[in-house]
């Protein structure tokens, strides 16, 4: 093995995964090689949130995360949220509130909303805005997104 490649193993969406990554690869590129396209590189600078991935229980920007760093870690992507063949309450709320137009940013917003609601089950408007400040929606569906977050919070409180 050359010095610029690393053999890594990690848990991806519940399955143990082993692969060889190049040191210059980032996490979005790694996921793309596994046909997972829900995390998308958009700004490439960690500002927009389209590449959001959950690594060891925290949200990260996949475009700024070296693929080699996931060695030994647990990764969850948007593709895992309906693994029991049912949309998550957050996904459902985004559909009901029409919280997207083109949908490019949506997977990032949904994953971030999941993390927010884990930490703050009933967030205020200000807390929602603060937490999602690093996610950009170029269609500007922000009012609907905030409604969707609140609606998801209510759904999850009921269950």
């Amino acid at each position: 093995m050359n010095q610029h490649a690393k053999a890594i193993s990690f848990v991806l969406n519940g399955s143990k995964t082993e692969m060889l990554v190049q040191t210059h690869e980032n996490l979005v590129e790694l996921l793309g090689r596994l046909d997972l396209y829900g995390a998308r590189e958009s700004c490439g600078q960690g500002l927009c949130g389209c590449c959001t991935v959950i690594v060891d229980d925290v949200a990260v920007s996949g475009c700024l995360y070296p693929a080699a760093f996931v060695d030994g870690k647990t990764i969850t992507t948007i593709e895992h949220l309906d693994h029991d063949v049912q949309l998550s309450p957050v996904q459902q709320a985004f559909i009901e509130e029409g919280a997207f137009q083109c949908g490019f940013c949506t997977s990032g917003f949904i994953l971030m909303t999941h993390k927010l609601l884990e930490q703050k089950p009933m967030p205020t408007d200000e807390e929602i805005r603060d937490y999602l400040a690093g996610n950009l929606c170029r269609c500007a569906a922000y009012p609907e997104i905030i409604n969707a977050v609140k609606s998801a919070a209510t759904k999850m409180a009921r269950t």
Binding site: Q3, H4, K6, Q22, T23, H24, N26, G44, Q45, G46, L47, G49, T52, V58, A59, V60, S61, C63, L64, Y65, P66, A68, F69, M112, K115, D130, Y131, A133, G134, N135
Partner: protein
């Protein structure tokens, strides 16, 4: 991005041994958020990166000393620092600063040591930690040394750290009797890099300013302590007139640089206004018990 050798030492000492005092293409990487940007844009093309991700967990701990001091491991993520009860109890200004520092995902990944060692004059934590009187504990091949955060930066993206030295801990002294504030001005969008950052800590004694530390960042080539303005402030009454005089003094003292976020003359005016506001916030805010 080009390919490079990635070393993943398990201990701090191994990490130091893998660094190279002479070779600028060999660098440590902690969270990687800032270095990834530099590598993607081609500004930095490493031959070897020494990852600190797997070094001893001691360097990620946050502890409060019995005297009210703080000791933060350099590998603590900015989120860890943001949500630490210990940090909040000693220096609530840090938590307030984090709220507007980049975004949740970057804070989850970026590490305190990397944030400081990067030497970017637009960062928020260097002025805040300097105004608290914090210092960095630094380890190298020949042992340890301490550097005040205010003395860490030697120029634009330059620090006094040697290429084979690593920040291991940041120590914040007890803040009893002090109150602190940090405000920044972003001119293009709320989440932009700041055009100006002002951090100040005041020790107020009987309605007068007993001691003060006043830092400016982002508008200047490197983090700078406004020493002359501090002299203007010491011993003065805590009131608007004092703050106003300090704003005038800071405007005259700071060597501001114009860039895409504002011309030098515009930023000078910002200095006058923001120094006054930062002092007002610290002066009329709560003092640490």
């Amino acid at each position: 991005m080009i390919s490079f050798e990635l070393a993943e030492p398990k201990t701090l000492n191994e990490a130091i041994a893998l660094l190279d005092a002479e070779d600028p293409e060999v660098r440590p990487i902690s969270g990687g958020t800032a270095l990834m940007l530099m590598m993607k844009s081609g500004v930095f093309r490493p031959s070897r990166l020494v990852s600190l991700q797997k070094v001893e967990a001691d360097y990620s701990r946050i502890e409060r000393g019995s005297n009210g001091s703080l000791r933060i491991g350099a590998m603590a993520s900015l989120s860890q620092v943001e949500h630490s009860d210990e940090v909040r109890r000693v220096a609530p200004v840090i938590e307030k600063t984090m709220r507007h520092l980049s975004n949740v995902r970057v804070r989850n990944v970026a590490r305190l040591g990397g944030n400081l060692a990067h030497g970017d004059p637009h960062m928020d934590l260097p002025p805040v930690l300097s105004s608290l009187g914090a210092k960095a504990i630094v380890a190298g091949p020949s042992g340890q040394r301490e550097i005040l955060i205010e003395a860490l930066f030697s120029g634009y993206y330059e620090t006094v750290l040697k290429r084979d030295e690593l920040i291991t801990f940041v120590e914040v002294p007890p803040q009893a009797g002090w109150s602190s504030s940090y405000i920044k001005c972003t001119t293009r969008s709320a989440d932009d890099w700041p055009a100006l950052g002002i951090a100040c800590s005041l020790r107020i004694e009987g309605g007068s300013i007993g001691d003060v530390r006043l830092m400016i960042s982002a508008a200047t080539e490197k983090l700078t302590r406004l020493v002359s303005t501090e002299k203007v402030l010491r011993g003065q009454k805590v009131n608007e007139a004092t703050f106003e005089r300090a704003g005038e003094s800071a405007m005259a003292e700071a060597e501001v640089i114009g860039d895409s976020r504002g011309s030098a003359s515009y930023k000078s005016e910002l200095v006058r206004v923001y120094v006054r506001r930062a002092l007002r916030q610290a002066g009329l805010g709560e003092t640490q018990p």
